[in-house]
Each structure stands twice: as C-alpha cells, then as structure tokens.
C-alpha cells in the first residue's frame, strides 16, 4: 500500500486509474485561465497580508487550484457547494468576481458579505457556493442537508463538499457518511489531501494510510485521484455527479494535492523541508496543465496572452478592493436576524 498520507508521494501516484477523456482544447484553456487567476489572486492576497492590509487568518490554496476548477467544470451552477476556510479557489472557480473576493478579505463594504465574513467565510449563492466554514468539517453535514433537500424535492441537483485531510477525524464526518450512505444522498465528498492539517502532517495523527479506502466501510463508492491534474479531477467529479444524479448515492473522492504556500499567511513552515516542496513543485497543477496544453498544440503565446489578461484583471481587482470604502459602522448590528 502506498502511504498516500506521506508528503513524499506525488499526486500523480494516486491509486485509482480513471479513464480520462481528453477535454477540448478551448475548455482546457478556459480552465488554465481560471487556475492562473486563482494563483494570482492568492499571491496578491499573500502580498497584501504581508503589507498588513489583511487581518485574521488567511489561508490560500496555492498548488491546489486544479481541484477547484476541475470540480466547478464538472458541476452545474445550480448544484450546491460547501468548502472550508481555505475556499478562495472554490469561489473563484465557480465564478465569484475577484474584486468582491479581495474586497471581502480586506473587510471592505464591496465584499460579497460586506466585509463581515472575510477570508474564512466565502459564500456566493448565485454561483452555488453555499458557504465556507471556519470550523473543521462543519460544512460537510451542511452539504448533506442540501443534498437531502434536493432529494426531498425531487430535484436532480447535487451537493459537493470540500474538506481537508485533517477533517476526516472530526466526528461529524462519520455521522454524515453514515446518513449519506443510508439515505443515498446525491452528494460528492471531496477530500483535498494536501498532507498537512495546519502544521501537523496527517500521517502523524491518522490511523488510516489510504484515506479513500475508509469510506468504503459505509459502502460508499470511493477513489483516490491526482488532484493536481484538472482533467483527472474533472473526470472523477463528473462520474461522481452522474452517479448522484442517477440516484445511486454518494461518492468519495480523495484528491492528492499539496499546498505550496504556508497553512496561513505568516506560517513559519518549520515543519517541512525545501526538498519536499521542490519535489512537489514538479507536479504542481499549473505546470501540469501548461505542459498538457503545449503537448496538445496550444501555442506558448496563447498562454502568455491569457496570463497577461489575468494579470490585468487581478491588478484591477486589487485596486478595486483597496479603493473600496469600509462598511458603514451600522453594519456591525445588521444581519443578526433576517427581517
């Protein structure tokens, strides 16, 4: 058994071999664009944090972009998504405006939640993102409840929930797995296994070595995939969503990935080596997709053009956020109850 909880394992060594149908080139380029956008937004947020413009706990998903983009493409806008405090990539992948995203992290009035939620509470109901969560694993039963609602109403919507490797051992995961399996809920459990929970490698606390095998104990269909290859992610999620829509119940996807930046802005990263990061950089999602695109006939200039476009968009978004007003003080007291 490959110990896929080890940070020495590359995402490409994932155990489940899926038949991956190549996606059309323009679709892949679109994906590249979004992944690059996420990367640049995250980097600009890290920079802003360093400059003292962002408070609180800010977690970026640098190195994990393919998970968000592949999954977003494999679901419908009216499907339901929940994710963690590390959720910028999911919001952007589903179509959140980068300006609103950055403004929210900076606590500005133009943020999607008027600056009240901040980095850990990304939400965008219009694009199906029903909430990120600051409490590990809490968002998982939420998605199950959305799946239950879809089932009760006879809709063919699916719920998709993202969580980390560290979340697996919150008790509520277990409760949710059981109910989802028992009631055949239309839900996809998506584990972004970046091998760390905060500063603790998951191998130190997990009794299970191949996390994806665990949910099989409930009879849940499960696979382990390369989370840094957007086509693989797309294929896996598309399969899982199809099963869910067909009434065949939940699927669990363990996506091997790696976070290239710290757990949060300011992380000293004393818990891992430069060698380990260098190893994982060999299979980071942007590079994987870039190579794929070039192999399939995309021209380097096309990709440069996309990047340049994104660069501009991100600069504009940052400027928009920084120039946005602070929320009115009165906002501190609203939204406690819906009136």
């Amino acid at each position: 058994m490959s110990a896929s909880i080890s940070p020495q394992i590359l995402p490409s060594e994932a155990e489940t071999r899926l038949e991956v149908q190549p996606l059309p080139l323009d679709r892949l380029q679109q994906m590249y664009r979004t992944m690059f956008l996420i990367r640049r937004v995250e980097e600009s947020l890290l920079q802003a944090a360093e400059e003292g413009k962002i408070g609180g706990a800010m977690h970026t998903a640098i190195g994990m972009e393919a998970n968000a983009v592949g999954a977003a493409h494999a679901t419908r806008p009216d499907d339901y998504v929940t994710c963690t405090y590390r959720g910028h990539h999911h919001a952007l992948a589903r179509g959140m405006d980068p300006g609103q995203a950055i403004a929210e992290v900076m606590g500005r009035a133009t943020g999607f939640a008027k600056g009240k939620g901040g980095s850990m509470h990304f939400v965008d109901p219009e694009h199906g993102l029903m909430g990120a969560n600051g409490v590990v694993a809490a968002q998982v039963p939420h998605a199950a409840g959305m799946a239950l609602a879809a089932q009760l109403r006879g809709e063919d919507r699916v719920a998709l929930t993202f969580f980390g490797d560290g979340a697996l051992y919150q008790g509520v995961m277990h409760e949710t797995f059981n109910m989802a399996a028992k009631w055949k809920l239309p839900i996809v459990f998506y584990l972004e296994n970046n091998r760390y929970s905060e500063m603790t490698p998951i191998w130190r606390t997990s009794s299970v070595e191949a996390l994806y095998r665990f949910p099989r104990a409930y009879g849940i269909e499960s696979m382990q995939i390369d989370g840094n290859d957007v086509e693989v992610v797309y294929t896996a999620v598309a399969q899982a969503v199809e099963r869910a829509r067909a009434g065949e119940g939940p699927t669990f996807i363990e996506a091997l990935t790696y976070r290239l930046a710290g757990h949060m802005a300011g992380d000293l990263e004393t818990y891992r080596t430069e060698e380990e990061k260098a190893l994982q950089r060999q299979h980071e999602p942007l590079m994987v997709l870039r190579n794929k695109l070039l192999e399939r006939g995309a021209r380097p200039e096309e990709l440069e053009a996309i990047q340049a476009q994104v660069e501009e968009e991100v600069q504009a978004a940052v400027a928009f956020a920084e120039e946005s007003p602070w929320p009115d003080i009165a906002q501190a007291y609203t939204d406690v109850f819906y009136l």
Partner: protein
C-alpha cells in the same frame, strides 16, 4: 387563564375553545404547518415510526410519509448540520432533540453555525430552522437529562428562544416559529406535556407572535417574570401568597426569552415597584440575571426594592427525589423569595 389579546393573530372571537394537552397542541402545530407548507419536515431520533419518545410527533409519519418525518441515527451534530444545509436552500426543518441536554452534543452546529450563518454571510443566507424538544427536572432523570437550556441559547446571538407554558401559547408560538425565517429554539418542559388548557379547535388558524410577553395574573405588590413550567409553579405560589399573606403578585409570562419583551415587564414594575425573575435554568449568568441587569439599565427608577432573580442553584441535578425537590426553583422557593422581598 385568558387567551392573550392579539387581534391580528388570534382566532375569531366567536370560536368555541376546547381543552387540550400541551403535547396535543405541539403535535397539532406541527401537523397544520406541514399541511400548509411542503418545505416543512421533521428530523430526529424515534420521531417517525415511534412518534417520538414523548409521542409529540405521533401520527405524522402516517400522514406525511418517511420523506418528511425522518428517523435519524443518534447523530445530533450530523443531523443538526443537515438541517442547516436544508434550510440554506429553502427547506424548513424542524429538528427534535430528544432531551434538550443534547444541545451540547450539537453545540457547534447550533451556536457556531446556525446562529451565525446569516451574519457571517453578510445576509446572503438565512435559516428557517426550528430546534425543539423537552427539558427540565421534576421526574428524576438526573444530571444529563434534566437541564433547562434557555440561558445557554440566549447567551448567543442569532437564535430566537421560545419557552411557552400553556397549550394555547405552545401551539401558537410553534406555528410562528416554523414560519419565522430565522433559527428558533422551542423549549418544551417534560412536566408540561400532560397539562391541559384552553385552545381553539384543531385547524382553527391562530398564531402567537414571538417576542411578546403575556400577563397571566395581575397584582399590585410584586412583578414576577417567568416562563415555561415555572409559570405554573409561579401561579400556584401567587395564589398561595394571596390566600395566606394577602400579597398580590403580578405574573408576567415572558414566553420568549430572546427577544425579551421588556416593555411589558417595565409596565408591570411601574405598578408594583418590585421585580423577581424566576426560571429553572441555572441562575449563574442566566436569564434572571439578564432581567435584573436590564432593569437597572432601562428602568431603575421604577424599582422600589432591589430586583432579584431565582434560578437553579449551581449544582448538577441529582436523581434522588428529596434532593431534586430541594434544588428546583419551584413553588416553595418562589414563595420564600417573594416573602423575603416583601419583608425587606
């Protein structure tokens, strides 16, 4: 006891009232709201086939089927979280906790999630959820099955806290709770279930608005603010005090602990000059302390004597009958507190 006056919500004056039990009232409210609105559904342990450990959801499975009355595993965190998810996308879950003590098992989902969701999302999502179940002592269930939890719920913002004492109020308030677009905790008391009271017949539409207290007994000597099962104890105590000592206690039934209808309290205190808040949940950092604190913030000039509160002593709840009797802030304790205040 008269039905409270609420023109817009109360049934036609001409309606013939009938006697019914508290359990029946809660059951009817659930049934009628489920008929009225397809998005209402019930989640909990033993709620479907058995009809609830206390038989409150009896018959609902037959009428509404297993999709809308769901027997869950013993997974309070999980199904509470699922209620959040379902509510976020437009359903109206009513979650039964078998004993409200298990609030603590699902506390993260209730207080860190459900209570905060509307605020954290900047108002983008709201959650029409009712959490309901029975609480309280008097039946020797001991430490982990007897706690009253309204003080805990009221400490956190974002959840309306409803604690009705009569079948009339229970039915009317549960209907309001289910129709409310916010999280509401609806607290029943195990000693109330078989009590009876007047209410309009089933299917005669009325609601009792959340956030409105009701003066259940008038008097000019002291204002006693309470709710839930303590109301019945307070009314008994008030009658005994009147009979034995000629003390006339005005009893204000708060009915809702959050929001708190302080207007009605101050109106009463303006008359009596004395204020005593009574409840069965813990006194320490509790609802009574809150009533006292607000009295000195908002209406200190009305008080002719120090305002007081009476709640559960800071002990775990014992099983043994004389010990449980000793600590419950019921009739005897209420009478003693009133007498002490009247003598001071």
């Amino acid at each position: 006891m008269t039905a409270p006056v609420m023109a817009q919500a109360a049934p036609e004056a001409a309606v013939q009232m009938r006697k019914t039990t508290y359990i029946q009232a809660v059951n009817e409210a659930l049934r009628e709201e489920m008929r009225r609105d397809e998005s209402v559904f019930i989640l909990g342990e033993d709620v479907a086939h058995y009809g609830g450990l206390f038989r409150v959801t009896r018959g609902l499975l037959d009428e509404f089927g297993p999709q809308r009355v769901i027997d869950t595993p013993i997974s309070e965190q999980g199904f509470m979280g699922m209620a959040l998810g379902a509510a976020a996308v437009g359903m109206r879950p009513v979650v039964e906790l078998m004993y409200m003590d298990f609030t603590l098992v699902a506390a993260d989902q209730i207080f860190n999630q459900i209570a905060k969701y509307h605020y954290m999302t900047g108002g983008l999502i709201h959650l029409p959820i009712v959490v309901r179940g029975q609480q309280g002592g008097g039946k020797r269930y001991g430490s982990q099955h007897s706690q009253c939890v309204e003080g805990l719920y009221a400490h956190f913002p974002g959840i309306r806290v409803v604690v009705p004492a009569t079948p009339y109020d229970a039915k009317g308030l549960l209907k309001s709770a289910i129709r409310d677009d916010n999280p509401v905790v609806f607290l029943e008391h195990k000693m109330l279930y078989f009590t009876r009271g007047e209410a309009p017949p089933a299917e005669v539409e009325y609601t009792v608005p959340i956030g409105l207290a009701d003066v259940k007994r008038t008097g000019q000597d002291l204002t006693l603010v309470t709710y839930g099962y303590c109301l019945l104890q307070a009314l008994e105590a008030a009658d005994a005090l009147a009979a034995r000592y000629g003390i006339q206690v005005e009893v204000v039934d708060l009915r809702t602990v959050n929001p708190m209808d302080t207007d009605t309290i101050w109106e009463s205190v303006a008359k009596t000059g004395r204020l005593l808040a009574v409840h069965e949940s813990y006194a320490n950092c509790g609802v009574g302390a809150e009533v006292v604190a607000r009295a000195y913030e908002e209406a200190p000039h009305l008080l002719r004597a120090p305002a007081r509160r009476l709640g559960m002593a800071p002990v775990s709840i014992p099983v043994s009958k004389p010990l449980e009797d000793e600590i419950l802030p019921w009739k005897q304790q209420i009478m003693a507190a009133v007498l002490e205040m009247m003598r001071a």
